[in-house]
């Protein structure tokens, strides 16, 4: 891979890793009496390792051909593999966390293995490790293809990808050591947060510079979504993580906000992490890979404009539906509920646009599991946005909040929508990236599809049942006007569903492992293919930038 970098670029990379290693050393020394020091050492080894990898090949042969005549796919390839790695680790963690709720002693006699510490490893691992890597990798692919231009730069794509993974490693290892801010999906402490800001700004700059090189007058839909993902996540991340460290030699910090204001900020962040990390970015994937694979143009350009701006504008208001009947002022709750319901319009416009695109290609959906992954993802997207709007209604929320129903809802979205669209896109992408004829085994893709679908259905039904039963038991009164069930009664009623959920998760995990195996075998065993139209160009000769001319 190093042969595609010039010596000057290699030197640049060495400089960056050296600075990072130094930062790691400072963190290690400053935090020597705190778990933060461990993160310093990890950063030092991570950056030092990269320094030597690059340094070893510093004076190896330089690229001879004109680099602008091809796309730069090395970072995309590594990103896809990292995404699959995190998928297996984080979903494995998920099955373990789920199992602990069914069998609480299924753990080690060590502090790090308790539910409260490993749950965020699962959530961050899936959202950031699996989802984030997939987003970064596919965005590199999509921005180049839809712009018909090579990535702007050869060092910054690596900086963004590997820097982001350093963040993920620090996050996950930190939770096990007890380093957390407790803000859900924003748990990492101040130094990790600062690092992510640096990485994220570089990501945005890279995106803009690549778009600036484009050989197409228009910026394709998928890019709007990736841009919204990058920009809004930056905004959310910076505001929600404002905090004052107790000391610069330790990890602990205190949020700048408290109580009501903190709750509102946190759920403004939390809900829009769902919107802009888990929806917007993945819609970018959907808008590119689904029409490409189906070989049909997006059904309606108008509808995509409407749904895009609808999603960007409405979603931001919806966070307060996490705070119904709490100490947050009622007018904020009402706004949250209203916008959550209105959100259904742009959400369904997107889902409908995707499904209408497939209209006329149902034969392909039947035969091609890769396209079926994407189709089912769009269906789950439609279902879970409907469910979300429904649960945001105050009366429904009074029952569903605090119960497993929320967990079921999140997983309908995370497994059914986010993971399925990602796997579909990966299966579409891998043969193109590695210039292979096809995937190693289409049968394994089928197996993965069915395992993932069955796993999701088992999981979601189990949580619907447990959530609704839980909610009803908590509010049931006896005839004499006292509460009918103790908390423990409801706990006992949950057990069978917790077992079922674990099984559903295990199915899903098995699918992911099969998928990772299939990708590795594709790279190692399948014959080369040139994919000869896939290069940057101004002329119409190459692969069309947008799936099928409009």
């Amino acid at each position: 891979m190093m042969e595609r970098l010039t010596v000057a670029e290699r030197q640049q990379a060495m400089l960056i890793t050296a600075v990072l290693a130094l930062a790691g050393l400072i963190l290690a020394i400053a935090g020597r009496n705190d778990p933060m020091g461990v993160h310093g050492w990890m950063t030092l080894f991570f950056a030092g390792g990269l320094f030597f990898v690059v340094g070893n090949a510093l004076y190896a042969a330089e690229p001879t051909e004109d680099r602008t005549t091809s796309y730069y796919d090395d970072p995309t390839k590594v990103g896809i593999l990292l995404s699959l790695f995190w998928a297996v680790v984080a979903m494995g963690m998920g099955v373990w966390v789920a199992a602990q709720l069914a069998w609480p002693d299924l753990r080690f006699d060590a502090a790090w293995s308790s539910f409260g510490r490993i749950r965020p490893v699962h959530t961050s691992g899936v959202i950031f490790g699996f989802g984030g890597n997939a987003l970064i990798a596919t965005s590199y692919h999509v921005m180049q293809r839809t712009s018909r231009a090579r990535l702007a730069g050869h060092v910054s794509p690596w900086f963004v990808l590997l820097g982001f993974n350093l963040f993920c490693i620090i996050a996950a290892s930190g939770y096990l050591m007890g380093i957390t801010q407790s803000k859900e999906y924003a748990e990492p402490e101040w130094y990790a947060d600062i690092w992510l800001v640096i990485v994220w700004v570089s990501y945005f700059v890279l995106y803009m510079r690549t778009l600036a090189r484009r050989n197409e007058p228009h910026i394709y839909v998928a890019n709007w979504y990736y841009m919204a993902f990058i920009l809004v996540v930056a905004m959310l991340h910076i505001v929600n993580n404002l905090a004052v460290p107790a000391s610069f030699s330790a990890a602990k910090s205190y949020s700048a906000f408290s109580g009501v204001q903190d709750a509102m900020t946190q759920w403004w962040y939390g809900h829009n992490a769902v919107a802009f990390f888990l929806t917007s970015g993945f819609l970018g994937m959907l808008y590119y890979f689904l029409p490409k694979r189906a070989e049909r143009p997006i059904y309606s350009y108008r509808l995509s404009i409407l749904s895009f701006w609808g999603i960007v504008f409405f979603y931001i208001w919806a966070g307060s539906h996490h705070l119904h009947y709490t100490a947050v002022p009622q007018w904020v709750q009402t706004l949250g509920m209203t916008f959550s319901v209105m959100l259904l319009v742009p959400s369904w416009a997107s889902a409908g646009n995707a499904l209408m695109t497939l209209n006329g290609a149902w034969g392909k959906v039947r035969d091609d599991a890769t396209l079926r992954f994407m189709m089912v993802a769009a269906v789950f997207y439609g279902l879970s946005t409907f469910e979300g709007s429904f649960m945001a209604v105050r009366a429904v929320n009074s029952l569903s909040h605090y119960t497993d129903w929320t967990v079921g809802h999140v997983h309908a979205g995370a497994m059914g929508w986010v993971a399925l669209i990602t796997f579909g896109s990966i299966y579409a992408l891998v043969p193109i990236l590695w210039r292979r004829e096809s995937m190693y085994s289409w049968k394994l893709v089928e197996w993965h599809f069915w395992l993932a679908l069955i796993g999701t259905v088992i999981y979601v039904f189990a949580m619907w049942n447990s959530g609704i039963i839980q909610g009803l038991m908590w509010r049931t009164y006896t005839e004499s006007g006292t509460l009918a069930y103790s908390f423990t009664d409801s706990l006992v009623a949950m057990h069978p569903y917790y077992v079922a959920r674990t099984i559903g998760g295990a199915f899903f995990l098995t699918g992911a492992i099969i998928g990772a195996f299939n990708v590795i075998m594709t790279i190692r065993r399948v014959r080369q293919d040139t994919h000869e139209l896939d290069y940057p160009t101004k002329s119409e000769a190459g692969e069309p930038a947008v799936p099928v001319a409009e």
Binding site: P104, G116, M208, K252, Y254, S258, A263, W268, I316, L483
Partner: protein, 258 residues
Amino acid sequence: MLRKILKPFSKFFEFHARTHYRAERHSMGLTIGIIAAAAVGGFVEIAPLFSIDDTVEADPNMRVYTPLEQAGRDIYIREGCYACHSQMIRTLRDEVDRYGPYSLAVESQYDHPMLWGSKRTGPDLARVGEKFSDEWQVQHLADPRSLVPESVMPQYAFLLNTSLETASLPGRLAALRTVGVPYTDEQVANAADDARGQAIPDSDRAYAVEERYGEATNIRFFDGRRDRLTEMDALVAYLQILGGLSDLPRNMQIPEGD
């Protein structure tokens, strides 16, 4: 009729689509559009919460956490108890009957960050303070299933054998003061001593704690161990103060029939 109603909308969409068509040729145009569209909602919902006075009730007698309680709170966060326990009783009859008066904004005024939680795998803890004895709490944390056989709560026996780190407490209180908790200089400076004092009743340090944090402060051998200050002391001290920082909820919400 329908046409008439829809007409302004279709005009708007037409205009919207055209504007977008122009914007999508300029990456900066899109960038500004996205930031602007996404900024509105957050601004309208969050900014007023800082400025509207009656968002948070006024309670002049609202207590702050003692250093030991704050240390316990930090352990609660570290162990991820918030992943299974909420601390927010909603304004619903069954919640009030089960857990006590519904939570007021003022009660988490000094909570940086708040720990309202989002999931009740275990019961709400907003008013768990003094619901159980210290011994029960210690035993329950060390081995939950010895008291509640059906429990799925993890055991935290190691807390009983882990000494509480107190050296960083002044720094922690100072940081909390920076973000708005009204600790005095004296409270910050003596934080480490006060943490010890709160777990050794009838000592000079304990009297100092009482002086600085008020008569009502719980001063006890929380974990039952007299030889050292453990993380269990801190966590139990924190649990026992939950719901006890302000009397406002109980005074405002007088139960029916009383």
